[in-house]
C-alpha cells in the first residue's frame, strides 16, 4: 500500500488547494437496440481553487458539474471514468494514486454533501454514528472528541437541540435539518475541501434560505474551501467567490461572481441570468368558473389527519390558477381531491356548473376526459415499454375510439403542437430528454381534449431554460385550445410568469386568494411575505438582507 503524502492543514494560509488540468471524463452508454458507445461527459476543463474560497459550478443537467465535483475525490459515479488530465490536490496528482490512496482522501481531505440528504443518510443508523464515522475511520479524532465537535457543528448550523439531535434516526428529522446535519457530517473530519452538490435544490424556498445561510456561515467560520454545484444562479451568487459556467461538459465562462451575474460575457451565461422572464397579461375572471371547489375538507387515515381545511377556489375557462405553498401545505392533496383520488369529507367540487362525484369510481368517462393531469416526474408517468405514438394514442382510442390511420394523423397533429414533429412517433421515453418527456405528457393530456389540466410541479424537475420552454408551450396551448390550468408549484417565479389568479396555501388552508395582481400587491400576510422574500434573487448580498427582514419561520423548521 502506497504511503499517502502528509496532510497540510489549512490554517488560514493561502495558496492553491485544488488544481484540475485538462480534465476529460468519459462513460460508456448502452442505448436500447444499439451498440454501446463512448460519450465524453467532461471535455478539457481546467480550474483552480484557492484555500478557503468557494467556486460555484453552474449549468444545466448534463453539463458535467457533479462529475467534475466528484473527480476531486477521484470518484466516478456509475460507469464514469476519468480518462485524461490531472487532478492536483494539496500538491499531488491524485489520479496517480491507488484505490487505498483514494480511500484515504475521501471523507478526510475532501468531503461530499449530496443533493438529497434524506436519501444520503443510512436509515438504519443514528445520525451521530454517521456524522463521526469518517473522522473515526481516518483516525482524525477519538470518538468522544469527534462527538464533541459534531455537537459544536450542530449548534453552529442552527439545529434544534444540538446535544441530542445526534441520537435521532434520519426519518425523525425534517429535510432541511437533515441537509444541515449532512453539512456537519462533511465538516466533522475537518476537510480542506467540501463538494456541495445541489445541497438546497430539494428543499422548499422557505427552508432553502435557512440552510443556505447556515452553509455560508459554516464555510466562512471554518475556512474550508468549497465547490458549490447548482443549476440555480441566484443561489450560487449568494455563496460563491467565483462562478464557472459549464455546458455539455465544456467550460463556457469563468469569472468572479459579480462579473458573471452583472456583466456576463457569453450569450449562454446571459440566457441563464435572464431566464425567468415571460411577459404574461393577466386575464379577468369570466362569469361561470369551469371548476369550482367549495369549502372542501379532506383527511387521511379515516378523518384523523386533516390535510385540507375548508378550501374554496374557482378556475375559469382558458385561465390559470396557481396554487403555491411549501411541501406539506396541501397543494397536491387539493389535486387528489379534485381528481377523485381522495374524496372530500365535506364540501363540493363542481365542474362546468354540475357537481362532480367525490369518488373516482363514480365518475363517468366524459367527466374523466374533461380533467387531465400532468405530473412532476415525466419519467415515471409514462410506460417505458411503450412508444410515444402508443402513449399519446391511448387517450384517443379510449375516449374517442380513434383507430389506425385516423389515430396516427391525430398523434402527428399533437406532436406538432408540442413542437416535436412526427419523427418521434416510434421513439421510447428513454430516448427523450427531460423536456421532451414532459412535452409528450402534455400531448397525452391534450389528446383527451380536456377543459382543465392539473399541472403538478411540471417544471420543478427541469433545467431553467427547458422549464421556460415548457411554460411558453403551455401558455400557447392555452391560447389555442382555451384549456384551463390548475398549476401547482412551489416556485414563485413560475407563478408570476403564467398565473391569472393565485391561491397561497399554508398547512392545509388557503391563506390568500385572488387575481395575480391583487395577491402579489402589498400589504402581505406574514406567510405570503415569507414565501415571496425567500425566492433567491440574482443579487449579491440578497441572502443577508432577506434573513434580516423576515417576520416568521417556515413550517418546515
Amino acid at each position: 500500500m502506497a504511503k499517502a503524502p502528509s496532510r497540510r492543514r489549512s490554517t488560514g494560509e493561502g495558496g492553491t488547494l485544488l488544481d484540475i488540468r485538462n480534465l476529460k471524463i468519459e462513460a460508456t452508454v448502452y442505448p436500447p437496440g444499439e451498440a454501446p458507445r463512448k460519450v465524453t461527459i467532461v471535455d478539457n476543463v481546467s480550474l483552480t481553487l484557492q484555500r478557503g474560497k468557494v467556486l460555484g459550478l453552474i449549468g444545466e443537467s448534463g453539463a458535467g458539474k457533479s462529475t467534475i465535483g466528484l473527480s476531486s475525490m477521484g470518484f466516478g459515479r456509475g460507469g464514469v471514468r476519468i480518462t485524461g488530465g490531472e487532478v492536483i490536490l494539496n500538491g499531488r496528482d491524485i489520479m496517480k494514486g491507488s484505490i487505498a490512496d483514494f480511500r484515504k482522501l475521501r471523507g478526510n481531505e475532501v468531503c461530499y454533501v449530496a443533493q438529497s440528504a434524506a436519501a444520503a443518510f443510512n436509515p438504519a443508523q443514528r445520525l451521530m454514528d454517521q456524522v463521526v464515522e469518517a473522522a473515526l475511520e481516518h483516525g482524525n479524532a477519538k470518538r468522544a472528541d469527534a462527538e464533541k465537535r459534531a455537537v459544536a457543528l450542530f449548534k453552529k448550523l442552527g439545529l434544534p437541540d444540538p446535544e441530542n439531535i445526534g441520537k435521532r434516526f434520519p426519518h425523525q428529522v425534517s429535510g432541511g435539518q437533515l441537509q444541515r446535519v449532512m453539512t456537519a457530517m462533511a465538516l466533522c473530519s475537518e476537510p480542506d475541501l467540501i463538494v456541495f452538490d445541489e445541497p438546497t435544490t430539494a428543499l422548499d424556498v422557505t427552508t432553502q434560505i435557512d440552510v443556505l445561510a447556515a452553509i455560508k456561515d459554516a464555510i466562512r467560520d471554518t475556512g474550508v474551501a468549497a465547490l458549490y454545484i447548482t443549476h440555480d444562479l441566484a443561489v450560487v451568487a449568494q455563496v460563491a467567490d467565483e462562478i464557472m459556467v459549464l455546458r455539455h461538459g465544456k467550460l463556457v465562462e469563468w469569472g468572479d461572481t459579480r462579473q458573471i451575474i452583472q456583466e456576463p460575457r457569453q450569450e449562454y451565461t446571459n440566457a441563464l441570468v435572464s431566464v425567468h422572464h415571460i411577459a404574461h397579461q393577466e386575464k379577468k375572471p369570466g362569469k361561470d368558473p369551469v371548476l369550482s371547489v367549495k369549502n372542501v375538507t379532506a383527511a387521511y387515515g379515516g378523518g384523523v389527519i386533516k390535510v385540507l381545511k375548508n378550501v374554496s377556489v374557482d378556475i375559469h375557462a382558458g385561465q390559470t390558477l396557481a396554487v403555491v405553498g411549501e411541501s406539506g401545505s396541501g397543494k397536491s392533496t387539493l389535486a387528489r381531491a379534485i381528481t377523485g383520488l381522495l374524496p372530500p369529507e365535506q364540501g363540493t367540487i363542481s365542474f362546468a356548473g354540475k357537481p362532480l362525484p367525490g369518488r373516482l369510481a363514480d365518475r363517468n368517462k366524459d367527466e374523466l376526459r374533461q380533467l387531465q393531469m400532468i405530473y412532476q416526474m415525466a419519467d415515471v408517468a409514462m410506460n417505458p415499454r411503450q412508444t410515444v405514438g402508443t402513449i399519446i394514442g391511448r387517450p384517443l382510442e379510449f375516449y374517442f375510439g380513434l383507430r389506425g390511420k385516423q389515430r396516427d394523423v391525430r398523434v402527428a397533429e399533437l406532436l406538432d403542437k408540442i413542437e416535436m414533429g412526427k419523427g418521434f412517433i416510434d421513439r421510447y421515453p428513454a430516448e427523450l430528454s427531460g423536456g421532451q418527456k414532459q412535452r409528450v405528457c402534455i400531448a397525452r393530456a391534450l389528446a383527451a381534449k380536456p377543459k382543465l389540466i392539473i399541472c403538478d410541479e411540471v417544471t420543478s424537475a427541469l433545467d431553467p431554460l427547458v422549464a421556460n420552454g415548457i411554460l411558453k408551450l403551455l401558455l400557447e396551448l392555452q391560447a389555442e385550445e382555451s384549456v384551463a390550468y390548475l398549476f401547482i408549484t412551489h416556485d414563485l417565479a413560475t407563478v408570476k410568469s403564467i398565473a391569472d389568479s393565485i391561491a397561497v396555501m399554508y398547512r392545509g388552508e388557503v391563506v390568500r386568494y385572488g387575481p395575480k395582481s391583487d395577491v402579489l400587491k402589498p400589504p402581505f400576510d406574514a406567510y405570503t411575505e415569507l414565501l415571496l422574500s425567500s425566492v433567491p434573487e440574482m443579487e449579491i448580498g440578497w441572502l443577508e438582507k432577506a434573513i434580516k427582514t423576515r417576520r416568521m419561520e417556515s413550517a418546515g423548521n
Binding site: 466528484l70 475525490m73 470518484f75 459515479r77 483514494f102 480511500r103 484515504k104 482522501l105 475521501r106 471523507g107 478526510n108 468531503c111 461530499y112 449530496a114 438529497s116 436519501a119 444520503a120 443518510f121 443510512n122 436509515p123 438504519a124 443508523q125 454517521q130 464515522e133 469518517a134 475511520e137 481516518h138 435521532r168 434516526f169 426519518h171 425523525q172
Partner: protein, 318 residues
C-alpha cells in the same frame, strides 16, 4: 403501547387464527380421502358386522363436526389421539421423532444459513466477477438437482465408495453425540445443498438492491473500505428480505424433509408421516400435519417480527 409491540401482538394473534383455520382444513382434507380406516385395519376378509363394530368403537359414525370438536379439544389438552394402526399414543411416538427432525434441521441450518449469507456477501463484494459467477453457478446447480438425486449421489460417494459416513442414518436414544453427528452428516449435507442457493441468491439480490442507494455512495465517499460499506451500510438495510427467505428455508428444513428422511431411513417426522399415510392412519396424518403447519406458521411469524424489528421507522417512531 408502542407500535412495534402492537404489530407483533397482531401478528401472533393472526398466526393463532390461521392455525385454527388450518386445523379445519386438515380435518376436512382427511375426511374426503378415499378409503376406510376400519377396512384398512381389518383387511379385505372382514365381515360386515365386525367392520360396523369397529366403526362404532372408533367413533367413525359420529357427524364430522362432532369428531372435529373432540379432536380439537384433545389437542388443546395435549392429547393428539391414538394411532389406529398400532394403538400407540401419538404424542409419545411423535416426541422422539420430532426431536430427531429438529436435530437434523438445526445442524443443517447452522451450516447453511451462515454459509449462504457469507457466500451472498462475497458475491456482492466481487459482483459480476468470476467469484460471483462461480458462487451463483454452483449454488443454482445444487438447487436444480432434486434432493433424492443429491441424496443418492452423496450415498454413492461417501457411504459406498469411500465409506466415510454411514449410508443409513440410524439414530437411537442414548446414542453418543459424535456418532449421532456422523449419522446425520449426509442428510444434513443434502438439505444444506437444497436450501443454500435460495438464501444466497436472495442475500445477494437484497444487498445489491441496497448498494444502488445514495447512502451507500455516501459511505464510499467517506473513504470506507468496500467490506465496511457492505457490513455497516448495506447489510443492515437488506436484513428484512434476508430474514424472510431464511425463515422460509428453515421451515422447509423441518417440514420438507420427508424425501431426505426416507432416503436415509432417518427416524424423523417425515418418515413417520409417510409410514402412516400408507397405512391410512388418519389421526397420525392429522397430528403430523398440524405440527408441520404450526412450525411453518410460527417461523413465518418470526420472520415477520424480525422484519418489523429491523425497520428503524417502526422501532423509533417520530
Amino acid at each position: 403501547m408502542s407500535p412495534v409491540l402492537k404489530l407483533i401482538a397482531q401478528r401472533i394473534a393472526l398466526g393463532i387464527l390461521l392455525l385454527f383455520a388450518v386445523s379445519v382444513l386438515i380435518f376436512a382434507g382427511t375426511q374426503i380421502l378415499p378409503g376406510d380406516v376400519a377396512q384398512a385395519i381389518l383387511g379385505q376378509s372382514a365381515t360386515p358386522e365386525s367392520l360396523a363394530n369397529l366403526r362404532e368403537e372408533l367413533g367413525l359414525n359420529d357427524p364430522a363436526w362432532l369428531r372435529y370438536m373432540h379432536w380439537l379439544g384433545g389437542i388443546l389438552q395435549g392429547d393428539l389421539g391414538t394411532a389406529m394402526s398400532s394403538g400407540q399414543d401419538i404424542a409419545t411416538s411423535i416426541g422422539s421423532r420430532l426431536w430427531n427432525t429438529l436435530f437434523l434441521a438445526f445442524w443443517a441450518a447452522i451450516v447453511s444459513i451462515p454459509l449462504a449469507i457469507i457466500l451472498g456477501l462475497l458475491a456482492v463484494r466481487y459482483r459480476n466477477g468470476w467469484v460471483d459467477k462461480l458462487i451463483s453457478g454452483l449454488a443454482l446447480a445444487s438447487t436444480s438437482f432434486p434432493e433424492f438425486f443429491i441424496g443418492y449421489v452423496l450415498v454413492y460417494f461417501f457411504a459406498v465408495k469411500w465409506q466415510i459416513f454411514p449410508g443409513i442414518s440410524t439414530v437411537y436414544d442414548g446414542m453418543p453425540f459424535g456418532e449421532r453427528m456422523m449419522a446425520i452428516a449426509l442428510p444434513a449435507t443434502a438439505l444444506t445443498l437444497v436450501v443454500l442457493a435460495h438464501m444466497m441468491r436472495m442475500t445477494r439480490a437484497a444487498i445489491l438492491n441496497v448498494m444502488q442507494s445514495a447512502y451507500v455512495e455516501t459511505a464510499e465517499l467517506k473513504g470506507l473500505s468496500a467490506f465496511n460499506v457492505i457490513r455497516r451500510h448495506a447489510f443492515p438495510n437488506a436484513i428484512a428480505p434476508i430474514i424472510n427467505v431464511v425463515m422460509l428455508n428453515l421451515a422447509y428444513l423441518i417440514v420438507g424433509v420427508v424425501v431426505v428422511e426416507v432416503i436415509f431411513v432417518y427416524p424423523g417426522m417425515g418418515q413417520y408421516l409417510v409410514d402412516h399415510v400408507t397405512k391410512r392412519d388418519v389421526p397420525v396424518v392429522q397430528a403430523v400435519g398440524l405440527i408441520f403447519a404450526a412450525v411453518y406458521i410460527s417461523l413465518n411469524i418470526v420472520a415477520d417480527i424480525g422484519a418489523i424489528v429491523a425497520n428503524p421507522r417502526l422501532r423509533h417512531p417520530k
